[in-house]
């Protein structure tokens, strides 16, 4: 019997269809894996199920009864609990207080602490936790906090627990304990929906899986009858059409950047790779693989512990991004709105901020020069804007991204580091950005490209470096480089 039936769920955000006729059925007592690439719609679907978002259409049946949740509280009351990737515990309170937050036993001014602690103790032992309910949450490890979250979910008498990448921060024995806990939950009749990028785990604990891609359900199948390859194929898809420009082979020049044994404890270790002039090197990996951290260190935005960076034949010793930019390195940051642009300022101010020297003489800004430089960049990158005095906030995501690219061009960089340059950009503008990137490489500049979209990396990169949890797992070039191969290395 199915505890949950979601039928033909639709959801769109500002005209973008996030979920299209999604149907999901979950059997009572099973662990149901939900898989898909970033942006496939898993989180949106789970937010609808847990009452955070309202669907545009479709029907949800829970324990055979048609339901609609106006808020997370409503879903909780029916017995659906969600454990988010970012834990939501109050650090300064005790475990027991967190479990019963807002509903401690007894009256407001006369709380029955004995009962609170006893109840908390019972819940903790159910999830296999061995710490006292009086412990402060801030003294727990992340894994232990996870257990508190699960205990909290149980305290609502949850029949269905959704776990959104609970393992992202766990490893080794902590992971084992999480699996044990999930097992004992299902033995007690609780159903679990489990979201994870790690295929190993899926095979280890899931009974059935549902694969999503581009807001649609691709398939639901039994894990026992599924191979790893089938899952990867389902997640990645095979469509490779003229979304991407044809890449002419560019003759590669000398090594421009050489990263040797770069290590930042707890983030990444022993990373070594080269980038040649005219080359686009893609960094592939899942969230948390350490890609952004590595390039931020190259750019001088963060410090690293060990290793060496050689740039244009000389050791690169930059203490801050300003020095990196003077050396000829530019970064297009992951977070466009907060790190790439000052959205409340005009395009002119944004475009020239990476190289004010170029538009000033004796410290004085040359307005005319600045205006001309800005207009030229806008023209060159075909930014759609009425004027360079337009505020960046008024531009579409794609055009904003072009401005960030323009800013890095204005600094006359020879090495461009692009961190998710097409995130949140519509298909048309994406293509234009691809053309810009390829044009840069053609003109002899070196590019390090980070992207969560494998297709994008494959289409643009000369060579791919695959990372997994801060370790370099392999380099792929030419025919070797396929989505399946990346996924295999990235999931390691």
């Amino acid at each position: 019997m199915n505890i949950l039936e979601m039928n033909n769920i639709n959801k769109s955000f500002k005209g973008v269809q996030a979920l299209r006729n999604v149907s999901l059925s979950v059997e009572t007592g099973e662990v149901h894996g939900l898989l898909g690439a970033n942006g496939a719609g898993k989180s949106t679907l789970m937010k609808i199920l847990s009452g955070v978002l309202q669907p545009d259409g479709g029907e949800i049946r829970f324990k055979g009864e048609k339901v609609s949740f106006s808020s997370p509280l409503a879903a909780q009351a029916k017995g659906i609990a969600i454990i988010h990737q970012e834990l939501s515990l109050v650090q300064s309170l005790s475990v027991a207080e967190n479990i019963f937050l807002g509903r401690l036993h007894g009256k407001s001014f006369n709380i029955n602490w004995k009962e609170v602690y006893q109840e908390a103790e019972k819940l903790l032992s159910r999830v296999g936790a061995h710490f006292s309910p009086k412990t402060l949450v801030r003294d727990l490890s992340v894994a232990e906090m996870q257990l508190v979250e699960i205990a909290k979910a149980l305290s609502f008498q949850a029949h269905l627990v959704i776990m959104d990448e609970p393992s992202a921060v766990l490893s080794g024995p902590e992971l084992e304990r999480l699996f044990d806990t999930i097992e004992s939950l299902t033995q007690n009749g609780v159903t679990v929906i489990y979201i994870s990028h790690r295929l190993e785990e899926i095979f280890r604990i899931c009974d059935r899986i549902t694969i999503m891609r581009d807001g649609q359900v691709i398939e639901t199948r039994k894990v026992a009858e599924t191979t790893r390859e089938q899952i990867i194929q389902g997640i990645v898809g095979r469509s490779m059409n003229e979304e991407f420009p044809a890449k002419d082979p560019v003759p590669l020049g000398d090594v421009v950047l050489s990263v040797r044994n770069l290590t930042l404890k707890g983030r990444f270790e022993n990373i070594s790779f080269d980038v040649r002039s005219g080359e686009i090197v893609g960094l592939a990996g899942l969230v948390g693989a350490g890609r952004t951290e590595i390039v931020r260190c190259i750019f001088g935005a963060d410090r690293f512990d060990q290793g060496e960076i050689i740039y244009k034949g000389k050791p690169l010793k930059v203490k801050n991004p300003g020095q990196a930019i003077s050396s000829g390195i530019a970064l297009v940051p992951e977070d466009r709105k907060n790190h790439g642009l000052i959205t409340r300022f005009s395009l002119r101010l944004n475009l020239t901020m990476s190289n004010l020297k170029k538009v000033s003489r004796w410290m004085f800004l040359q307005r005319k020069k600045e205006r001309m430089a800005g207009e030229q960049l806008v023209e060159q990158l075909q930014v759609k804007t009425p004027s360079i005095e337009q505020l960046a906030v008024n531009l579409s995501g794609g055009n904003q991204q072009k401005v960030v690219l323009g800013k890095s061009l204005f600094s006359d960089a020879d090495l461009l580091i692009l961190d998710e340059p097409t995130r949140g950009v519509d298909v048309g503008a994406k293509r234009e950005i691809y053309d810009i990137i390829l044009g840069l490489a053609k003109s002899g500049k070196s590019v390090i490209l980070i992207s969560s979209e494998w297709e994008e990396l494959l289409a643009l990169s000369d060579r791919l470096i695959v990372l997994h949890e801060g370790k370099l797992k392999g380099e792929l070039a030419g025919a070797e480089a396929t989505s399946e191969k990346i996924m295999q290395l990235a999931l390691a």
Binding site: N320, G322, N338, G340, F345, L356, S360, E389
Partner: protein, 346 residues
């Protein structure tokens, strides 16, 4: 053409600044014609005050009274120039009360022992150095706006204590020196020297802010420190320089004050920091960094100066004046908030 051009540019920038706040997303190109209402508020208020003043008191619009007002606001105005830089860069400086007190007593103490010129130079250097310390501390802890409040409160408290220790808690009198007396009381063809000083400083601060890459960096840093840093702006250095200019000009204000009174009090700076911040905010510079102008600040300072003068002319008690000042500060902040609310509704 000098004045006219400056004024013209001020108006132009005023309009541009307004469009910065106008995030309605309309691409009508008509933005150039929009008049900066937010900037206009303080200007209109000042105009009304001037009209009311001339109606209510026959002495108000006399040359003597106007020079009197301008001399009175020198201390506030000088500090407000520096504070405008610090606030545009996204920080606040509460240490200027301590700087003013310490530099005030040291200016007089040194004037008595080693003469006016070395005294003034040492005091200016001291103010600049304190700014360097403030900036360096904040760079080391990668401080945000809140941290700047606490750090400068800390350094300011130390400086206030040093001022008290320096004189043993007493006020001290300056030696008779015409040059020392001249700073605060001298006149050049009828115009008070203080007013000329203030005017020169204001023009320099305005030009540096609007026309140099340093001025631009102040805005960029204050609007979004991380984006500015990733674009190669040396945000920590820019902010440190702002603190140093703030320290130097606060020290200069201390010299002026000690000369005006020909004496020094170790508590001369009490409430100075808050009065200065209030003047800058009343002028329309935001507490959130990334926007503001010397023009706005001068309007804010004039508003306070004219208002206090009027209060005295119509015979309001000191207590009533305090009450009025408090109300005006609150009103200015509400207006600032309202501007930003309008922005986010955009």
């Amino acid at each position: 053409m000098g004045d006219a051009k400056v004024l013209h540019d001020v108006q132009k920038q005023t309009v541009q600044k307004e469009t910065v706040k106008n995030q309605t997303g309309k691409r009508t190109g008509g933005w150039k014609l929009r008049i900066g209402i937010a900037d206009l508020g303080p200007v209109v208020a000042l105009a009304i005050l001037l009209i009311v003043g001339s109606v209510m008191s026959p002495v108000f619009m006399t040359k003597e009274n106007i020079f009197n007002i301008l001399s009175q606001i020198a201390k506030l105005g000088l500090g407000a120039l520096g504070m405008t830089y610090v606030m545009i860069s996204g920080y606040l400086d509460l240490s200027i009360a301590g700087i003013l007190s310490l530099c005030n007593v040291m200016a007089v103490g040194l004037e008595r022992s080693i003469g006016t010129v070395p005294a003034v130079l040492i005091v200016l250097a001291l103010g600049t150095f304190i700014g360097l310390v403030n900036g360096t501390l904040l760079r080391l802890i990668k401080g945000d706006m809140g941290a700047s409040v606490m750090i400068t409160f800390g350094t300011g408290t130390i400086l206030s204590a040093l001022a008290l220790i320096y004189t043993g808690g007493y006020s001290i009198r300056a030696d008779d020196d015409p040059l020392f007396y001249w700073f605060g009381n001298g006149k050049i063809s009828g115009l008070p020297v203080v007013v000329i000083f203030f005017f020169i400083c204001a023009v320099i601060f305005h030009i540096v802010l609007k026309y140099t890459s340093f001025g631009r960096s102040l805005y960029l840093t204050g609007a979004n420190p991380e984006a500015a840093r990733l674009s190669g702006i040396a945000t920590a250095r820019v902010r440190t320089v702002a603190f140093m200019l703030m320290g130097a000009i606060a020290a200069f204000a201390a010299v002026v004050v000690s000369s005006q009174t020909v004496s020094a009090s170790p508590v001369a700076g009490a409430n100075y920091e808050l009065d200065v911040i209030a003047a800058v905010v009343i002028g329309g510079t935001s507490l959130n960094g990334g926007e503001g102008s010397i023009f706005r600040t001068i309007i804010g300072v004039l508003l306070i100066g004219v208002l206090s003068n009027l209060f005295i002319l119509i015979g309001l008690s000191t207590f009533d004046q305090m009450m009025a000042k408090g109300l005006i500060i609150i009103a200015a902040l509400i207006m600032d908030k309202y501007k930003h609310l309008g922005m986010s509704r955009g």
